[in-house]
Symmetry: C2
Subunit: 333 residues, 2 copies
Amino acid sequence: MKRYRTLTHIIMVVFALAVAVTAVQAADPLLSWNDTAPKKAIVAFVDKVAREGSQDFVPVAERIATFDNDGTLWAEQPTYFQLIFALDRVKALAPKHPEWKYKEPFASLLKGDVKNALAGGEKAIAEIVMFTHTGMTTEEFERVVKDWIVFAKHPKTGKLYTEMVYQPMLELLAYLRANGFKTFIVSGGGVEFIRTFSEKVYGIPPEQVIGSSIKTKFEVRDGKPVLVRLPGLNFIDDKEGKPVGIQMHIGRRPIAAFGNSDGDLQMLQWTAAGKGGRLCLYIHHTDADREWAYDRKSSVGRFDKGLDEAKAKGWTVVDMMNDWKVIFPFELK
Amino acid sequence: MKRYRTLTHIIMVVFALAVAVTAVQAADPLLSWNDTAPKKAIVAFVDKVAREGSQDFVPVAERIATFDNDGTLWAEQPTYFQLIFALDRVKALAPKHPEWKYKEPFASLLKGDVKNALAGGEKAIAEIVMFTHTGMTTEEFERVVKDWIVFAKHPKTGKLYTEMVYQPMLELLAYLRANGFKTFIVSGGGVEFIRTFSEKVYGIPPEQVIGSSIKTKFEVRDGKPVLVRLPGLNFIDDKEGKPVGIQMHIGRRPIAAFGNSDGDLQMLQWTAAGKGGRLCLYIHHTDADREWAYDRKSSVGRFDKGLDEAKAKGWTVVDMMNDWKVIFPFELK
């Protein structure tokens, strides 16, 4: 009797699984994408490389997909979110630095004049980043970012920054992973900054995040080993740095790459130049109502050379206004 | 009728799977390990962190294990295999460099006097490495290593270098992966060198190899993007560099680490200092008959401070002579 019940149970479980699998297959994994050219290109590419028997079949181990972060997985307006974090940190640290009242770029920042603070260009930004991102252990930095990211709100939408991710891209990440892809972030942003939320928000574990980094040093303090973040750049993962970062970290050329700016162009070139099926996709920010519209002349996420090359080479370009049904997950609620 | 046959079929498959699972569980996954303390420590650790309900349970995503390569996964005597590769390359490249006949360390090398060639110490080695490892694209370098590694034979055993891996460690890698661990190599050797064979030999894909590296530059040559290996060190993944490399690449502290020399000490310290269950394991080369016996005074794989600290902290130390039934896979044939 017991054996009979076990068998019945197994059969029921097997059928339940079969039904569940069918349901999953039937649902559209790219529900927030309109049935326009980009969605068709994505589905055709995945079918080409992931279907057994396809002429362009790629083994699972080689299904590497790389994603830029700012402007590709989450928004980047009015400026890069990590820069907003840095500015918030300056305010938080100001009581310990009375000298900042008289020292640029901090003086302007503390008066709320961000524009004047950043007028110093890259030097001013570098100074702000070094002061706010270094001089602590890796664990301390992680805690500071995590404390910020669960409370800080976007100035326009009032949403958490981690809510300002693109719903269609979350679906794309999941769709690729369901088809055997390993998904990586390859960002000009700081690697340790992104790692604090990438797993929870994108399903991308820290070891699959490649980014810019500052120098780090191993030390034993009071018998306890720590890694100290030093005020010096280690690697800039932008433009020519992206293929270099990919090679250093992954050691294998991606077969799919996703970006939105000129900073991603070399990553897409490197991806496109491999043999076999490739998907190079650019996101064009065209929706001033639901998100932002910017490209060739933007100081953030400039998309000029990349747009020309995408057209010349026939890469896929997503027109956010026309190709995406939904931009942010909170629109679905 | 058809439905009945389908059900019968499903039941048979389910039972076959159940039997197979039982068979796998019954077989000893660490067959080449004697039932001594190290094997017991490994099994107890895996049970502790991987068994649901255990007080020290660790989620799969956090089961990170890092392995040194030279002397831990494969042999390193009479010297590091990558150095032997470099010396072979000098010979292969000599016809294109007539000036080497009069220039150290190349002149001595070409006369077969390795000892004199290496008398120049680190400077001589660096010169040899730069000449043989840089000045080509990443793809060209990969081809050169792959061509070498399928033919070159070890001077003592006459075996391929990739056959001189440790059978017990291959079993350990597989055992950890079967229990949800992600296995990484963290080596002082060159990352691109190790990646050419790590997937085939160890089951470790290129993106899970961390190593020393030279500088690399992205270029477009005749319309084709390439990555060029430049004559300059980028990162030395040894000693204090190992925890730094781990943080840069993985961004998460390992819960298990395996090494054999003082070069691995900081990696083990960093691993040990985390919270929860930890396994820090050192391999002690004690078997002069089946492999080599060396430790405190060896110029290759020196194991002196690490041995003291392992004893002081109660880390697991494998005595190769007593704890391993088999050293190399070819002993099994």
